[in-house]
Point group: C2
Chain length 322, copies 2
């Protein structure tokens, strides 16, 4: 776990979350304990618990409930990653072997299930029924999004579809985290709604930037080939902007309309064209606008070290390189 | 769904549960809806919701909460079956194609996850926090049991291990169902504990009888070869009894101690020896003793049509042929 500047006000809370996460399999099969340790040590930046802890502490959430909530969110996220990596056949995540690279598919399916069970238990331990329902709904949203993507034809160039997809994939859980942190705090319903919107905007921006980095990142940094989404036929924000300004690009037309899909060379040429175009800056700008709306939400919140850290975190989302 | 005599007092409730189950994917991807319909139409006997409804109605549980609980339990059960069948590579369940026989593994993993999410949502909608936690704990128990079995060496002849395994696999969820139905009812804690024990005994007996039927059932009826557990090296109750009375059986010694595992012919001979021995009757008798203890638990409950139906259901567990 790295300790970026935005986590300063909640250092000790983050450590408590970490300890709570690591003890989730203490009574389970030893190999399952080892798997959980491996998963938790895989270099996640703990963006979600950090954001949840900052929101909750800013709003006066009870300490124990907040720690439990932050751990529940990270565990749910971890569980979805375990099944994701299995589905994608990914062998590395953040440069570290995935569980399914080392375990059999059955063991990987069950480990994900076990983490779902523990995440649900932690969510229940916040003793907040509305939060429990929100938690279950968010999991359904994430999974339904993955299934929809699985069934969908590749090469679908639709903004509406793109926003739905990144909401399900990323924004829904970050939105839930900020909203839930407010729900367990002694605040009005309007504050809960503002924090939900803050989480939504941060989450949407987070995935938009991820999609930009897929084009601009160095292969060694992101651990996959440049333009890997597009190479798999997945249309993300940079490609949508590129399509607007270059509707006649023959490689793109071939991808979207052609009966013959483009070959590898044509696809790599398309990736390079998008990298060299204004589409990258336009996509980043759209993410930045989301973050501006998120910062506006924060303005109405109590001035505090946590609010400042949330501002830093929100800006970090669009300025990060990884 | 069949309508055995023990479901008479809760026919309309069972239909409500059925309707609630079928609408769980109404807002999800159409293929997911279709998958859920397929799963729900696969001929399950709805033993768990029937048992939960009878327990709850006997004890005066509020109607809506009880329906929700019964649906949550059946959906959790269905979700675990989806992942189980994937893990086992089973192509048929109850003579009907499993989801993984028709879908890709990724779609099957995600469908199971979606059902977990919806089961958790239903559990939360009972508006009972302790029940939520119990629900999450039970899922962890089931999954940990499956993982333990996955990692375990085959041919382990230990009663303690056997009881732990069938508790995790089957009894834990049936125990939870009876306990949860009492928890949402206006009854004392001692009644909850007695109903928990009732569920435990019924659940343990249910799996013991399943393990007997694996030896005695006709291949066409159970949809798998006679003695399929043992053929896969899994030691169940009939084999444990047979080991006590025939410690020198050379095929069994070879299975438990041998460096060379028995060949198919030797294994099939062992299955036949067990079928022909007293071990079958002894295992059935042990299940019957569990049911007797379950019936004793019921004696302290209010006399009612539901109590009578629960008695019939308990006896059906050991008398069934499938």
């Amino acid at each position: 776990m790295i300790a970026p500047p935005f986590s300063t006000p909640i250092q000790s809370e983050l450590q408590e979350v970490e300890a709570l996460l690591h003890c989730q399999a203490y009574d389970a099969h030893p190999d399952l304990c080892a798997a959980l340790d491996h998963l938790l040590s895989s270099g996640g930046k703990r963006i979600r618990p950090t954001l949840g802890l900052l929101c909750g502490k800013m709003l006066g959430a009870p300490h124990d409930r907040l720690i439990t909530l932050a751990a529940a969110v990270e565990l749910l996220h971890t569980a979805t990653l375990v099944h994701d990596d299995l589905i994608d056949g990914a062998l590395l995540r953040r440069g570290i072997p995935t569980l399914n690279a080392q375990w059999s598919p059955p063991a990987t399916v069950l480990t994900g299930d076990f983490l779902f069970a523990r995440a649900a238990k932690l969510a229940a331990e916040t003793n907040h029924l509305a939060l429990m329902k929100l938690f279950a709904d968010t999991l359904a949203t994430i999974v339904n999004g993955e299934l929809t993507q699985l069934f969908q034809a590749r090469g679908l160039a639709s903004r509406e579809n793109y926003y739905q997809r990144i909401y399900a994939k990323t924004a829904s859980l970050i939105e839930m985290t900020a909203r839930a942190a407010a729900m367990i705090s002694p605040v009005e319903e309007t504050v809960v709604e503002t924090m939900r919107q803050f989480g939504y905007e941060v989450g949407m921006a987070f995935q938009m930037v991820d999609d930009v980095l897929d084009f601009t990142g160095e292969q060694a940094e992101v651990g996959k080939p440049v333009g890997s989404d597009l190479l798999q036929g997945l249309i993300t924000l940079p490609t949508l902007y590129y399509l607007e300004s270059h509707p006649e690009d023959p490689d793109l037309k071939m991808l979207l309309e052609g009966d013959d899909p483009p070959d590898r060379m044509q696809m790599e040429r398309l990736v390079q064209s998008i990298r060299a175009s204004r589409a990258i800056a336009q996509a980043l700008d759209e993410a930045r606008q989301s973050i501006e709306r998120a910062l506006t939400c924060l303005e109405t919140m109590p001035a505090s070290a946590e609010r400042e850290a949330l501002q830093v975190l929100a800006r970090y989302i669009v300025d990060r390189k990884l």
